[in-house]
Symmetry: C2
Subunit: 141 residues, 2 copies
């Protein structure tokens, strides 16, 4: 079982939020889809298995999880929101050729600057864009 799965389901129980079939499937999707899926990607992923699943339910579930801080919202793209099951500090790299989003380790918690003294920082995001290794290699072929 994915390490985050147990943690998230425990938190849901603690907040008296039902572990419905839909919610558990969406959570699974977040755990095993490393692409930081959009609502539409989750929908497509689960549609075969649950043909009656609606996007509204996906939106509802993601909002619930985000409010509890159990998933992270990624705004690396202009037009749509992505969701990340990993909430620990890390950066994101988006390949502008293939569209993939990669994680990379970076400790943002230690960052400080005088300009933000007196500010309460609650969320830190580092987003890079460019071309990933694989796409660069393919280009040179």
């Amino acid at each position: 079982m994915h390490p985050r799965y147990a943690l998230v389901t425990n938190q849901l129980k603690k907040h008296q939020i039902r572990l419905s079939d839909r919610r558990l499937k969406i959570l699974e999707c977040l755990c095993y889809n490393l692409e930081h899926p959009t609502v539409d990607q989750i929908y497509v992923n689960l549609h075969k298995e649950i043909p009656t699943l609606s996007k509204t339910t996906i939106y509802n579930t993601l909002h619930t999880l985000a409010e509890l801080g159990l998933i992270r919202i990624i705004n690396i793209e202009d037009n749509k929101t992505r969701y990340d099951i990993i909430t620990e500090s890390h950066g994101h790299f988006k390949c502008q050729t293939c569209g993939s989003i990669f994680n990379f380790e970076v400790d943002l918690k230690s960052f400080a600057t005088d300009e933000l003294s007196g500010f309460k920082i609650m969320e830190r995001n580092l987003y890079f864009k460019g071309i990933c290794q694989e796409c660069l290699l393919n280009k040179n072929d």
Copy 2:
């Protein structure tokens, strides 16, 4: 005159893009609006002065400027795109209470990690969210 204004107009000339009245006004708006305006904010700002200005023109102009790398696109919010006349490396802080977006200095160019070796990094963004100093002080009243 704002330091970026001359630079951007020169670049537009160089690329044989006409310095039309609309474009110059939108550029002015970006230079003197420190809020990192959205399309709608630019529209509202200029509407009194130019009642016939359309949002399509604002979109067109911003796309042109962004393609030439003369402005930066900010995706700190889920739903709408903001634009920044300052293209040098810096971070953004969004206050979740008043909605203001602050700049802060940070040199992202020097950041490196083994995980991204072999990747071509073209754009670096650091976004913080939280509560700004003023809103924190007001809260305690």
